[in-house]
């Protein structure tokens, strides 16, 4: 795998010193604290209450841009299960119980059934990857995730030759997810990938951010992140993974088929019907900073463009 080279990096975007030290602090904390240690309090917004994770940094899969702050990443979220405003998830997600948690594996695979989150995570060493994140609403962030390759997890279930797609389902429980009491979307939230997309080394199974367990509003305890796709493709709080032969329907494409497609690859040349995708507003850039150019596949074209060779990306948006 070649080292990731991403264009458009300005000197100002190189990790600030305070973040560098922050990472050192997190590593130091990780040495003293096992990943399973549960600290009192709720893992919502405060860094100090979420359990520190043991992980290594993976610079090969990280951009060198300055990461957004913990407050930005955990306070500005689209997670309709907890409300429609960007601040709602941070406010409302404390009702989500992530322990115990289990994930059901179904469909075209040799190993299926329901597994505890501990069984799901046990064999996978964690790594930190600093990924670009681009929302379909034309804003972006840079996020230091902690996770492991999705491909490594999927391979354990021995998908069959008929497994052409992978579908992810988010928890359905209006008691824990108050946003589901209203039918703004067809709950539960479902997203899906082609199997070769899911097996791509960039596809990340995420369990943490900034070296600590994922706060609920970011999709705890288990979510995917696909940095070359619009954010809505990355399912959160996953309870089911299903391998299928037929292309599954995904929630946003069902809800507004003219606006959201199955692929949802970041593409500056294909506009959303109601706004441009050629540029984006980068969270944290400040009030008068203006917009940044959006990059093809969100800057990951060298790695993922081959997945879509010969496809009409205007039709398969």
């Amino acid at each position: 795998m070649p080292r990731l080279k991403l264009p458009g990096i300005r000197p100002s975007e190189i990790t600030a010193e305070r973040f560098f030290h922050m990472r050192r602090d997190v590593l130091a904390a990780a040495l003293g604290l096992a990943a399973s240690s549960v600290l009192p309090g709720r893992a919502s917004t405060a860094t100090t209450t979420a359990a520190a994770l043991r992980y290594t940094r993976n610079p090969r899969f990280s951009v060198t841009e300055k990461a957004n702050t913990f407050e930005e990443i955990t306070g500005y979220n689209n997670f309709y299960e907890f409300g429609l405003d960007k601040g709602d998830p941070a406010e409302n997600a404390s009702t989500l119980r992530t322990k115990p948690w289990s994930v059901t594996i179904a469909g075209e695979a040799a190993v299926t059934g329901t597994f505890t989150i501990e069984d799901i995570l046990k064999p996978h060493p964690l790594e930190e990857r600093i990924y670009r994140h681009r929302c379909v609403e034309a804003w972006s962030m840079v996020i230091p995730w902690v996770g492991f390759p999705l491909a490594d997890l999927l391979a354990r279930f021995k998908p069959s030759s008929r497994a052409r797609f992978v579908e992810f389902t988010t928890l359905l429980d209006p008691k824990q997810m108050p946003g589901q009491r209203r039918a703004v979307l067809d709950w539960p939230y479902v997203e899906a990938l082609r199997i070769d997309e899911a097996m791509h080394p960039l596809a990340l199974m995420v369990v943490g951010v900034y070296g600590r367990e994922l706060p609920n509003q970011n999709g705890a305890p288990l979510r995917v992140h696909l940095p070359w796709k619009y954010g809505f493709k990355s399912a959160k709080s996953i309870v089911k993974i299903r391998f299928s032969e037929k292309q599954p329907a995904n929630t946003w494409a069902l809800s507004a088929p003219s606006e959201y497609g199955f692929y949802a690859n970041v593409n500056p040349k294909v506009d959303h019907p109601r706004w441009t995708q050629a540029t984006e507003r980068h969270i944290g850039d400040g009030f008068l900073a203006g917009r940044r150019e959006t990059l093809m596949f969100n800057g990951y074209a060298d790695q993922v463009a081959s997945l879509y060779q010969g496809m009409d990306l205007r039709r398969n948006f």
Binding site: E72, K86, G290
Partner: protein
Amino acid sequence: MAAINPVERRYRLVYKPLLFLACLVPLAWVVGGVLGLPVPSLGADPVRKVLGILAHSALNLLLITLSVTPLRQLTGNAQLLKVRRMLGLFAFSYALLHFLTYIGPFQGFSWAAIVKDLVKRPYITIGFAALVLLVPLAVTSTNAMMRRLKRRWQSLHRLIYVIAILGVWHYWWQVKKDIREPLIYVVLLSLLLGWRLWRRQRSATSRSAAPKAPGTA
């Protein structure tokens, strides 16, 4: 100058200045937030937040302006009319600031993108149309203009109904999923416009029997 009665005096010296200050609160929030003063935070995406604050202020003030006449008719309090111009001008100011925020902080003065939005995206077209239509109303809001235009002034200022419809429509059209809030505006605007239609209807049917009532706006 003729003596001012105490009721009118209280309106002019107490209520109107208080209302003026209240109308400035959203602007103070925006300016304070951008300058980093101790006001409620504008959050991780201050540009979007400011767009929203200014838009809501403009729409709210537009509806409040439209409720002055019904309130006067219901309460018989003619003093209310004295604050209508101020409310309308505040609505215009917030709409203009909302547009300027869209031009500068939101679009980064990318004129090509702005023109494309205006031409290709209907919700932006109608929002812009509402702002443009507000300009002649603001310009002709002075006493001198009222005197000069005479009867035509009232006809011109009926544009406010069209503007309010465009403004609410502009909001409705861009909401992604949750139409609850734009729906509240639709209901309130329907009530305000419905009231006027109902009054008109009533006065038209009673006109044959009774002499024409003095001007109702």
